[in-house]
């Protein structure tokens, strides 16, 4: 690790202000950033720890939705009675991230702001039609994830919470990378008030939806309805763990299983 200045601000404004240094980095749970620093793959001047900011943790029920603070850890989402009631598939998904010790540190805000192409949360946020709250605005899930490790967040913008509307039916199916345990392919299928949504992580540069599956599932919410819908492998990720062709195939299999698991 390169040496850096460590700060632990106690107000959002202070934290955001420090981001005027473009080589400063925010650390939430640190489950991606700290390993990256250890391998000397990043060289921030300042590390701004969001851990002491008030009001960023916790899970609250707000009418027909659940609001999860940006610094809320995966373990808390996984065990939350509120999440289990309002968006149970999200609680289950949080229990599949990393490993138990990682879930005790990693946060929803950190995960979505990083937008790792193989992370689980982006699939949940998009499929569940969530809204990302920042210190500046609200961003719809479909607008939030913009590319490989890229999001709509602007400089100085910090994720404060994510709001998930209550969902009728949803399920997440993850096919793990046997080494890293990230998703080779993860498919989150949800029947929401905004319609059926199918979001895929792990397969592409960033989370994406599958309109053909959504249309088919709108017509008939059954696994059979999508069993012959193949997604093109053009532009999908290809590495030593899985070819693009295999990933494309897994998207259909995982989507089918997610629908079937919705019961």
């Amino acid at each position: 690790m390169y040496e850096f200045d460590y700060h632990r601000p106690t107000s959002l404004d202070d934290a955001a202000g420090r981001l005027s240094d473009e080589d400063a980095k925010l650390v939430a749970g640190g489950m991606t950033l700290i390993p990256t620093l250890k391998l000397r793959l990043a060289k921030p001047t300042q590390l701004i720890d969001l851990g002491a900011l008030p009001g960023l943790t916790g899970i609250t029920e707000d009418g027909d939705s659940v609001v999860i603070g940006g610094m809320t850890r995966h373990a808390d989402v996984n065990r939350s009675e509120v999440v289990k009631r309002v968006v149970p598939a999200l609680a289950a998904m949080a229990g599949l991230i990393g490993d138990p010790a990682v879930r005790n540190r990693g946060t929803i805000g950190g995960s979505i702001a990083n937008n790792d192409p193989a992370a689980d949360y982006p699939a949940g946020v998009v499929a569940l039609n969530a809204t990302v709250r920042t210190n500046k605005r609200e961003i719809a899930a479909d607008d939030f994830f913009t590319g490989l490790f890229e999001t709509a967040l602007e400089p100085g913008e910090i994720v404060t919470a994510v709001r998930f509307p209550k969902v009728a039916m949803a399920n997440y199916q993850k096919f793990r990378n046997p080494a890293s345990r990230y998703a080779i392919v993860g498919v989150f299928v949800a029947r929401t008030s905004a319609g059926v949504r199918v979001a895929v992580t792990g397969a592409g540069a960033s989370v994406f939806r599958v309109p053909a599956m959504e249309a088919a599932l709108t017509a008939s919410f059954t696994a059979d309805a999508i069993k012959d819908i193949a997604i093109p492998d053009d532009g999908l990720n290809s590495d030593i763990h899985a070819s693009a062709e295999y990933r494309a195939h897994l998207v259909t299999v995982m989507a089918r299983r997610a629908v079937a698991a919705c019961g």
Binding site: N177, P178, A179, S180, I240, H241, Y246, H249, L250, V253
Partner: protein
């Protein structure tokens, strides 16, 4: 602790381990846990390129960085006349010429030959400072094309790793009777052929390697603390061949070591660097690998490409086996690398079978990769894998049950000693019984019903058998010497009986997880009739123990244990003389049992403690006949290898939609000879199985064939087996005694890793054979399985 107290049969009891308390309470002492006064830290700058000429190295900026104590390069070592790392086994080619043996510099000077090759060392007050400074070393690289796999390395025009090795060939070795094999193949009813790969593995002991070098100016003594399986071997190799330090001034300590699996046998550059540099900077120097460094500097394992042919007669009896293998050696010859794909591989190709004619040729090939050396099993998993795959393939082609084909060809239990056509003479074994036990435990007879049940759920279920033989406790020294070994392969032990009867055992074996402090104490408790609590096992420090060869090749109990027995017998012999004197009886009338020297037929006796006290307070003592003291050393050089054997059965299920495979059951029935501690033996088997199943399903070291970059350089990309990858293992043992060591023991450390890959691979092919699948390479990842299924379904549809 009542375990092993007098009256309790210490041999055969699952005595709980004496070493566990310190490990469970965080009080183990691993090398990185040691800190020496004034210690500084070393960081090794490693090559980012697989093959590059070095135009120049500028260390000036690094040398003036904060906290830096010194920066050294290969030129500094050359100036001090420091030698290269030696290879411990000379292999001659078919034509009698010696292998190509290029230099293995501690730090390179003019060329890097693999990603991770060592270039310079930065020594600083903190590791962070050393690493910061290393980034300021400026190296002028001229990158050249690299070659990473053995097949490509042999192609005309392939990049040349060493000028001394034309065509990248290290040696072209053979064993067996080629003419007899060709004749047998010519008249065979059937010849079954297969090409296969034994995948390259990274050992991944959980403790990364570490070394601390220290130099005492006042005495001129060097001390090296290192993560080693054999401290005396390191002292010999580093002292005599590399640093030219007399043994008497070099102490090597291998304290608690966090797993080895072969990877900590070898003498590594970092050990020499910290030891040499400690005298230069006159401060102790610590180096600890991070895992990324381990991946690119610990010796790797396996990496064979093989063609095999098995000839059978009309009764499905094996007539001949022909094997041709390319063995990837990496860029340098690691300490024992050269004997692995030859004498620890070709000699095992009879397996458990009566095959009368065998011929094997191995071409060892240099590539731009990390050196390859012994990894748990070392040559024997490779031999077992090809043999058990070809046997299964033959069974399939002939329409014979794989168990039946094996039964027809097993060496019978009354055929021992059995001389194989590939040099070894097996002393004992009972292969049919271990197979029968495994089949019974695995429910082999009822498998087809389970296959149908799985098919009803859309799953492809398979069962696979592998039998194996291994050769452990490699020896005798005279024989291995004639085959090119540059080391002896005995073991030593000293038994020091203290004045009041407690005992210290100083053993040349080294424990890095095997539990010697318990197992060896059981031996001593049994043999001397004293409680385990009064027995101390000392190992791992050349300043304390007699010259010993360490632990590898499942040798500790068979060779190290036998040395302890031999030394104890010397103690007993002397004790008998002392007791005879004390009891005023004839020596011939003195019996020793349960810790008491007794005059036969009487109740007159002296305890071991009384005899020991007499030996150290020799007032009433036979001074004319004996020296005082009760302290004996023995060296044991085995008469032969030991030959553990067994049968493993895997039952698996494949999800054809994804290729995901589940190991449902794994059964192992093994013959390890006499078992001293069944609990520890079971643990050894469990661990070996996990590594074997890991090889079959998860693990594979991958290099980029264009750039030579290591693509599986961390746990993000190299799939380590996890708890959820396995079922509970079902184990049993059957005992045929080793006939030539005093304990009748054979060794158990590697068996799991030897049998498991073939059992899993056979189960996979069994699950897919209805599609026409003949073989699936390892690791059988989900994508590989899915693809295999897809391709064969497509082919079947086209047919």
């Amino acid at each position: 602790m009542a375990d092993g107290s007098i009256g309790t049969p210490a041999i055969g009891a699952s005595v709980r381990r004496r070493e566990d308390y310190r490990f469970l309470t965080g009080q183990g002492t691993y090398t990185d846990d040691i800190n020496r006064p004034g210690q500084v830290y070393a960081y090794i700058l490693r090559s980012p390129h697989a093959n590059a000429r070095i135009g120049g190295i500028d260390t000036s900026a690094a040398a003036s960085s904060p906290g830096v104590v010194a920066v050294f390069t290969g030129k500094d070592l050359e100036a001090d006349g420091i030698g290269g790392l030696p290879c411990g086994w000379l292999i001659n080619s078919k034509d009698g010429s010696p292998m190509a043996e290029p230099p293995h510099p501690v730090l390179v000077t003019d060329r890097v030959r693999h990603v991770g090759d060592h270039i310079a060392v930065v020594i600083a007050e903190t590791l962070g400072q050393a690493r910061d400074a290393a980034e300021r070393i400026d190296i002028d690289y001229a990158v050249e094309p690299a070659v990473v796999d053995s097949v490509a390395a042999l192609r005309p025009g392939a990049p040349l790793v060493w000028e001394q090795a034309p065509g990248n060939v290290c040696y072209d070795w053979h064993l067996g009777d080629s003419a007899a094999v060709e004749t047998a193949i010519g008249k065979a009813a059937r010849v079954v052929k297969l090409d296969l790969v034994n995948n390259r593995l990274v050992p991944n002991a959980m403790e990364p390697r570490a070394a601390i070098g220290e130099f005492n100016r006042a005495t001129g003594e060097y001390t090296l603390y290192t993560t080693s399986q054999n401290p005396h071997v390191i002292r010999l190799l580093m002292g005599a061949f590399v640093l030219h330090i007399p043994e008497a001034r070099l102490r090597v300590v291998a304290p608690d070591v966090g797993g080895g699996f072969g990877s900590k046998i070898y003498h590594y550059a970092e050990e020499a660097i910290v030891t040499w540099a400690a005298a230069k900077v006159r401060r102790p120097i610590k180096w600890t690998a991070d895992r990324s460094e381990s991946f690119m500097s610990d010796a790797h394992g396996r990496d064979h490409v093989t063609h095999v042919e098995l000839a059978l007669d009309a009764d499905a009896k094996f007539l001949a086996l022909k094997v041709s293998t390319l063995a990837n050696m990496g860029a340098y010859l690691s300490t024992f690398s050269t004997c692995i794909p030859t004498y620890l591989y070709g000699t095992l190709l009879a397996g458990t079978y009566t095959t009368p004619a065998i011929y094997v040729e191995t071409k060892a090939v240099f590539t731009n990769t990390v050196p390859v050396d012994a990894y748990r099993g070392a040559g024997r998993p490779e031999a077992t894998f090809l043999l058990e795959r070809i046997v299964d393939l033959a069974a399939d082609e002939l329409g014979i049950d794989p168990a039946e084909l094996r039964r027809r060809n097993f060496i019978a239990r009354d055929a021992f000693p059995y001389q194989t056509p590939v040099a070894l003479q097996y002393d004992s074994g009972d292969y049919q019984t271990t197979l029968d036990m495994a089949m019974e435990a695995a429910g082999y007879a009822g498998f087809e019903a389970r296959r149908r049940e799985a098919a009803g759920r859309g799953k492809l279920r398979g069962i696979g058998i592998a039998t194996y033989i291994e050769a452990c406790g490699i020896a005798p020294s005279a024989v291995v010497g004639s085959l090119g070994a540059r080391a002896g392969l005995f073991e030593s032990a000293a038994v020091r009986v203290h004045p009041t009867g407690s005992v210290s055992i100083l053993t040349g074996s080294h424990s890095h997880g095997q539990g010697h402090e318990t197992t060896f104490a059981q031996l001593v408790s049994d043999h001397l009739g004293i409680p385990i609590d009064s027995i101390e096992i000392v190992h791992g420090d050349t300043a304390k123990i007699p010259y010993g060869m360490g632990t590898y090749g499942s040798r500790s109990l068979a060779v190290g244990g036998s040395a302890i027995i031999k030394a104890m017998d010397k103690v007993i012999a002397k004790g008998r003389k002392i007791a005879a004197h004390l009891l005023e009886a004839a020596e011939a009338d003195i019996e020793f049992k349960d810790g008491e020297f007794t005059v036969a037929g009487t109740d007159r006796s002296k305890s071991l403690g009384e005899v020991a006290l007499t030996a150290y307070v020799p007032h009433n003592f036979p001074h004319d006949e004996l020296e005082p003291g009760l302290d004996e050393t023995a060296f044991y050089d085995p008469k032969n290898f030991t030959f553990p054997s067994g049968a493993h059965i895997a039952e698996i299920e494949i999800d054809p939609d994804t290729g995901h495979l589940t190991v449902l059951n794994f059964t192992a029935s093994d013959d390890f000879g006499r078992i001293v501690n069944p609990m520890i033996v079971a643990g050894q088997v469990h661990g070996g199985l996990a590594q074997g199943i890991g090889q079959a399903l998860l693990e594979g070291c991958v290099y980029d064939t264009e750039t030579g970059q290591l693509l599986t350089g961390s746990y993000n990309d190299y799939a380590m087996p996890r708890a959820a990858d396995f079922p509970n293992f079902v184990l049993s043992t059957h005992v045929t005694l080793c006939t030539h060591n005093p304990l009748g023991v054979k060794g158990c450390g590697e068996a799991g890793a030897i049998g498991a890959p073939a059992a899993i691979a056979n189960a996979i092919v069994d699950a897919l054979k209805h599609l026409g699948v003949r073989h699936v390479e390892m690791p059988a990842t989900p994508e590989r399985l899915w693809r295999t299924i897809q391709e064969h379904q497509t082919r079947a549809a086209a047919d």
